[in-house]
Chain length 246, copies 2
Amino acid sequence: VNLILLEPEDFLSGDPRDPSCDRGPQRVRLGGRQLRHVREVHRAEVGRELAVGVVGGPRGRGEVVALDENALEMEVLLDGAPPPPLPVTLLLALPRPKVLSRLLRDITTFGVKEIVLLRTWRVEQSFWQSPALEPERIRRQLLLGLEQAGDTVLPRVRLRRRFKPFVEDELPGLAEGTLRLLAHPGSSLPCPRGVSGPITLAVGPEGGFIPYEVEALEAQGFQAVTLGERPLRVETAVAALLARLS
Amino acid sequence: VNLILLEPEDFLSGDPRDPSCDRGPQRVRLGGRQLRHVREVHRAEVGRELAVGVVGGPRGRGEVVALDENALEMEVLLDGAPPPPLPVTLLLALPRPKVLSRLLRDITTFGVKEIVLLRTWRVEQSFWQSPALEPERIRRQLLLGLEQAGDTVLPRVRLRRRFKPFVEDELPGLAEGTLRLLAHPGSSLPCPRGVSGPITLAVGPEGGFIPYEVEALEAQGFQAVTLGERPLRVETAVAALLARLS
């Protein structure tokens, strides 16, 4: 029941994100890997209706009108907006590559649109050399997260390999006007529930932020909060924090 | 910084869970796989202090007093209680084996003590043949979850391969006096936040419960609730629900 995400170039009738373009039914043609995916995962056959969306654009329904070995054609009606985003900017100490892939997918499913992958003291140097950081690999995980959520709007992912310049020079602008929280198992302040405004949330690596990093973030108005006395794995903690805050 | 979980037979001085036993320092001896684990993961060396707990018993600190190729000995003082449990009974449609392992670990880390792995219509038959369901494999994941949480109390895991008899005959007793919730993406009732009393939470498989199953659970007093319009993967949904409820 996941969304099928279409790229503008799949449309035979021009870019569907163009606001001046006709909003009636449009024709889409899929081949190659996309065709295999739609046949295997969505069991596409002629006459079947599928949920579709355009990357960076609207969503709607598509009806399969032609299907052979080389291509699938759909008539799509794009009359819906993607679900509202989660107003959370996530600063995440770069996790190990395998965890990163799953996390990027989940964070995207939750609706986060601003992700900063950050170097901190306890992030292993080797993580920055991982192929999981290649833009195409990151994009693949984001798309999987969008498909799961029925969303179309890709998050922006920034890689920041220098903690201090990021926190001192870039973070003040990024976090301005938001509630600033720092997940820190040592804190005694419980993480707030159901916050309605925008949030900037910082999550450390396995082992946590070092005291210098906690102080640097506190100097930028971040408050240390905890989910309780049971430390969670990073990927579980991120899901738990986003669920608690939203 | 995880806990080292000790089994009663690791104690040279008798069962440490025995309430009549001396609460002074006790001597523990580890060999084989446990020895390797403590050396590699906890970098044990003579004089080092480590967090320890006894499966099913108290927790405390241990000091390494002897270490060679074959054995490690610790002097341990068990003066602490494990963290309080999370008063949630989790009914979980049996997920695919790889997901099951991670989920059992995470659910345990959250402090859930009652887990029912349930057959539902959309659970693939083959999942029940997986070696991941062998008691020793399940126990291994539970222990990993306890070590992560600093907990010592193993959850009870029940496998129930027949939905109807379980829901009609066993569930009423199990769920008595608890708030009964059913995670259902189609519901319009938001999942409650920060519930203080005991809860029974039912979570379906990928694709959800079928209408018959929803009705059977509703007949037992379960209320369908949702985390919003973005469907999460099962393992992420479980973490999100437990975080939201607690």
